[in-house]
């Protein structure tokens, strides 16, 4: 794909979303909206009050006797372990609990109230154990072991747990010689930052409904970013064939990573196995949503960064301690992603990285928009600012000098593809008027500007696949089958655009089929990693080409022409040679009659396509080196202008500007909508958000105490820019951008605060209280 090739109509057009009419009318169906009738049972979960304890006994006798209770389940019912990359978790706790909120027992009853009452009747005897709440304590050689059986767990071959420790993964990068280089540096900055736990806060909490039929087949309705991965993980844990599990997933009311993989979805299945035929629903309360499922794990990042007099980065030492929580089945891969991307988007000749995932007795870490990159860049981008200051160089100039460019050999040995990061930096610095001095303010008001750059690769196994189907209806309209989920990002709209553009049909003739149903929808690995436009998009392109081939074969046979002379334009097949025309609706299903009633040609048209990256290589366990660590990197930059009131510590964001190299924007307005939403989620995490724990108990599990950005917290002005340096294997050059917009926000705001006040806090959130005390200490 070259930049100069002509693009078909619809590619690069900001068409209206395909899902919004039903969403605006309240008729879009989410999982909790599916009607199950009067036989539906309601589940509630008994949870551990201890961060770490042995379960001595569980007595469910009284609960089972309560009127209306249909099933009670505990860890005794299933001994299988579950986990995406590391199988370290039981569905219900067995023998030991490792965090406050862990599922210990479950009840299915005819009403939620009865299920709640039954929980009170379940007697659990615990023996409390010492607990660990900080990753730096967890890594100490004498730390108690949270998973003594770590060596027995199933694990993916690119994850490296250390049995006999609390380390669930250790990812290393070794490039050049860091130790020898420090003496050559004109300036070296050493800093440690603490990034707290935060929560995804989708407006729709987790919900799953399970039904097990008399033959044992399972149907699961769940609000899920990964119906197929869920099916596979649950099948493995239960020792079943995935073919005997069917996952159906409707619109998802926000995911941001927390609805990837399996968190609570297996719980109602265990109960439904005991209530054969009757479906069991588990819908998490907002309080449960905060701390019983995935959260964004905390990070302690210890950085040392050096450069020469001219401002060339020479060496980085980066040690990351990820607080994976009680079960790190997913978090281990965030640790890996943090490791192979540990330099940030910079060309650094000497790198030593140790990225550790640690078990603690905190709540379970999982994927969150950015997959570790916001946390990583919060550290790296503040150090880069300090280093530029240390040698007296402008911070933008310093970045332009060091950012990664096409052809650079990255820290892992992979060669970087062309990237538009410099253009992104230029766009945001122009928008924020980087060099223009800010006007003087009242004595208690200080102005500041800050910038941060970023990169992120889709973090996934080397071989995540996508597939797509195209089914023609009798009237020539099209049912597009995909299993990339519509979680708000606009995937269905972009899918329809790609299909219509490649097929040669009007956009209005395409309907994206839903809900995703693993029995009938094509395979998709997961809706994560900002991978759909690229990966699912490629599968749709392949399906569209397959469909066109079938269409042309039928028409060519009927017209006795060469298929190569045919084209499909706006839903009509035309011959370049004979100039004959036939609309799809005339033959899509029933075919074309031969002359003189001599029979028929054709039949129902059903196209299919697939895509899977085949070129990602393994990385050496000791050095992190390998030919190609990832499929590609999306890069970008973000800048903020803010005002701080030194008497209150209050921050007001005046201006925000952001730019990302998306390769090709299939729908530019959707890209901009992602950028705008991402900036606000990013500033929310920078200014407000933190899960506060006391002895493993979350102290603020409500929207009153865990504040997220509202209509009153927005920047006065936001500018967004699309940069397009095409991706060699993306649809018309496209690569993903869903997660990226919130990645640089915390660092850019921290740098703006430093510009305004000359202070740096040791981690977000940069609350008014913290700013005030930092300014008025002593």
């Amino acid at each position: 794909m070259t930049a100069s090739a002509k693009l078909p109509d619809l590619v690069g057009e900001s068409v209206s979303r395909v899902d919004v009419r039903e969403k605006a009318r309240g008729s879009a169906v989410f999982t909790d909206d599916v009607q199950f009738g009067p036989n539906l049972l309601h589940a509630r979960i008994k949870r551990s009050p201890y961060p770490h304890a042995l379960i001595k006994s569980i007595d469910t006798t009284e609960a089972e006797k309560l009127y209306g209770v249909k099933a009670v389940a505990t860890g005794a019912d299933f001994d299988g372990r579950i986990g995406l990359y590391l199988q370290d978790k039981h569905i219900f706790a067995r023998g030991r609990v490792r965090f406050v909120g862990e599922a210990v027992a479950g009840v299915a009853a005819i009403t939620e109230q009865i299920a709640e009452q039954a929980l009170e009747l379940i007697e659990v005897e615990y023996e409390p154990l010492p607990a660990i709440f900080h990753p730096e304590q967890a890594i100490k050689p004498d730390a108690i072991l949270i998973h003594p059986d770590l060596g027995e767990y199933g694990v993916a071959n690119f994850i490296f747990p250390k049995p006999g420790t609390n380390i669930s993964n250790h990812f290393k990068v070794r490039k050049g010689d860091v130790e020898k280089t420090w003496k050559d540096c004109a300036a070296v900055v050493e800093r440690k930052y603490y990034i707290p736990h935060i929560q995804h806060v989708p407006l729709e909490t987790h919900v799953a409904v399970a039904q097990v039929d008399q033959s044992g087949k399972i149907t699961l309705w769940s609000s899920s970013q990964s119906p197929f991965a869920q099916r596979d993980l649950i099948a493995k844990a239960l020792g079943m064939s995935p073919g005997n599990i069917r996952v159906i997933s409707n619109y998802v009311g926000g995911g941001f990573g927390c609805k990837a993989g399996v968190t609570m979805e297996a719980l109602p299945i265990i109960l439904a196995m005991k209530t054969r035929g009757r479906p069991v629903k588990l819908c998490l309360t907002r309080e449960e949503e905060f701390f019983t499922n995935f959260v964004r794990q905390a990070l302690v990042i210890d950085l040392k960064l050096g450069c020469d007099h001219a401002g060339n980065l020479l060496a980085m030492q980066n040690t990351m301690y990820w607080d994976g929580g009680a079960y790190t089945e997913y978090g281990v891969n965030i640790t890996r992603a943090g490791g192979y991307s540990s330099t940030g988007p910079y060309d650094i000749p000497n790198v030593k990285t140790d990225s550790y995932c640690l078990y603690t007795n905190n709540t379970v870490g999982g994927p969150y928009r950015g997959f570790g990159m916001s946390e990583l860049h919060t550290g790296v981008e503040q150090c880069v600012d300090e280093l530029a200051d240390a040698i007296g160089m402008d911070k933008v100039e310093f970045r332009l000098r060091n950012v990664v460019q096409g052809g650079d050999i990255l820290a892992t040995g992979m060669q970087m593809h062309p990237t538009g990061i410099k253009e992104c930096i230029q766009k945001v610095t122009e928008a924020i008027e980087w060099e223009k001095p800010l006007p003087a303010l009242a004595p208690n008001k200080k102005h500041g500007k800050g910038i941060a750059v970023m990169w992120k690769a889709p973090a996934m196994p080397p071989n995540p696949g996508s597939s797509a189907t195209i089914k023609l209806n009798e009237d020539g309209t099209i049912l597009l089958g995909v299993s990339g989920q519509e979680i708000g990002q606009g995937s269905f709209t972009v899918a329809a655009q790609i299909a219509a553009a490649e097929l040669g049909v009007p956009l209005e003739s395409i309907r994206v089929g839903g809900p995703v149903d693993t029995d009938y929808s094509p395979y998709e690995w997961q809706t994560v990693a900002s991978r759909l436009t690229w990966s699912m998009g490629n599968a749709i392109l392949a399906a569209a080409r397959d469909t066109r081939r079938q269409i042309f074969e039928i028409v060519a046979e009927a017209w006795k022409e060469n298929p190569d002379d045919l084209d499909l334009i706006n839903g009509v097949v035309i011959s370049q040679k004979s100039e004959r025309e036939i609309p799809l609706k005339d033959f899509a299903v029933y075919g074309i009659p031969k002359a003189n009633f001599a029979g028929w040609i054709g039949g129902p048209i059903y196209g299919r396509g697939r895509f899977m990256p085949t070129y990602v290589t393994g990385l050496d366990k000791e050095t992190g080196q390998g030919e190609r660590a990832v499929v590609h990197y999306t890069t970008g930059a973000q800048a903020f202008e803010l005002e701080v009131d030194t008497e209150t510590g209050q921050i007001e964001i005046i201006k925000a500007a952001t730019a990302f190299d998306v390769g090709r924007a299939i729908n530019p307005d959707l890209v901009k909508a992602q950028m705008e939403g991402g900036i606000v989620q990013g500033l929310s995490s920078a200014l407000f958000e933190q899960m506060i724990f006391k002895d493993g108990v979350m102290q603020n599990p409500s929207f009153v105490d865990y504040r997220i950005a509202t209509t009153m917290d927005l920047p006065t002005k936001v500018e967004t820019f699309i940069v397009e340096e095409p991706q060699d294997d993306g649809p018309w050059g496209a690569r993903g951008v869903g997660e990226h917009p919130m990645v640089p926000s915390v660092a850019a705001i921290a740098n703006a605060i430093h510009d305004a006040l000359g202070i740096r806090l040791d981690g977000p959130p940069f609350t008014a209280e913290k700013i005030y005390f930092a300014l008025h200490k002593g």
Partner: protein, 156 residues
């Protein structure tokens, strides 16, 4: 658990239902009448996803008991979608790309609708204030505010 018979108007239709004392209006709408456009985001009155009109005023339906609605009028997104002002808001939300996952959308629209009824020319600040209780995690709000502003600017 005692039940009580109540009579109320929902989207212009009279409904006579037997409900438990503790049942919320939110649960009544969703579980008894299958009006699932009203969303359950927190059941604590903190997110606004369950906003409906009670006698024309926006309320968090999770905080209202069904039995309190005896003799009152309730309007949800399903019914209000027939109203011209709501339709104009919906069209602006669509044109502005102000909807992503869509879970907060019905509540957001109803808060905006109630605002425009009492203040047809609501300005930026009034809109931000009226939507303060409606959380959205996807859009960053700006497009929602612009959509309401545009709808407010269009005289009926």
């Amino acid at each position: 658990m005692s039940e009580r018979q109540i009579r109320l108007m929902v989207n212009g239709n009279e409904e006579i239902l037997s409900v438990p004392d503790h049942l919320s209006l939110l649960r009544l709408l969703r579980d008894k009448l299958a009006l699932t456009g009203t969303k359950n985001g927190c059941e604590a009155g903190e997110c606004g996803a369950c906003t409906v009109l009670l006698d024309g005023e926006p309320v968090n339906s999770c905080l209202v008991l069904a039995v309190e609605c005896e003799g009152h009028r309730v309007d949800t997104i399903e019914g209000l979608s027939a109203e011209p002002v709501m339709q104009r808001l919906q069209q602006e939300f669509i044109d502005m790309n102000a909807i992503q996952c869509g879970f907060c959308t019905p509540g957001m629209l109803i808060s905006a609708y109630a605002l425009l009824l009492r203040n047809p020319h609501a300005d930026d600040h009034a809109i931000r204030e009226a939507l303060l209780g409606n959380l959205c995690r996807c859009t960053g709000y700006e497009r929602i505010i612009t959509a309401v502003k545009t709808a407010a600017g269009k005289d009926r």
